[in-house]
Symmetry: C2
Subunit: 125 residues, 2 copies
Amino acid sequence: MIAEPAAPSWYRCHVFCCTNERPAGHPQGSCAKRGGKRLRDYMKARAKELGLGDVRINSSGCLDRCEHGPTMVIYPQGVWYHYESREDVEEILSRHLIGGEVVERLLLPKRDGEGAAAGVSVPTA
Amino acid sequence: MIAEPAAPSWYRCHVFCCTNERPAGHPQGSCAKRGGKRLRDYMKARAKELGLGDVRINSSGCLDRCEHGPTMVIYPQGVWYHYESREDVEEILSRHLIGGEVVERLLLPKRDGEGAAAGVSVPTA
């Protein structure tokens, strides 16, 4: 059975940006080396500027979807994104975190039967 | 509106353990100094031993609930715990991650109207 929170969670949107860093030359690469850390810092600063007080932008260890890095996941919606520029981050901020919609073009591939983002509803401020 | 995933998320349970470390003497303290990093390593190793392949144990930056540290949050259920011993971690593993129930005695305080853990249903393997 899947979780169905009955009411708002502690954070309306809780963002985890992978900032894992592997040694140079590692075959999987790492989100940090692809800009994950820099873009997470940018996203955190922008969320603050925009006054998104019910949103938290966290860094995290390896989310284990390295082939799509840099990656982030936003809970409780369980929506996974790839992003590689400030423009991508701005679109996630404006459309997902503020507008309450999923940014389809940045979604990571889903497993068969996986819920997000099909049918997910994103809460708005 | 709250997210209601229509089907299982990428990870059945995605655990984020705060491993933030502040300078010595900081008034808020930090989860790392209270055992968060050590216990996160223990939890990760135990989840592997137990064969919990659909669960991910991650470290994260500051979850901003320092007064209750060490803290963790488990998504997509949005359940927050305080833990300070291997016994606490074992109970979260066996009861929440395997058994699909909330460990009430370790829950963090909720805001008025917050959903988890009231009415939350935890998926089982």
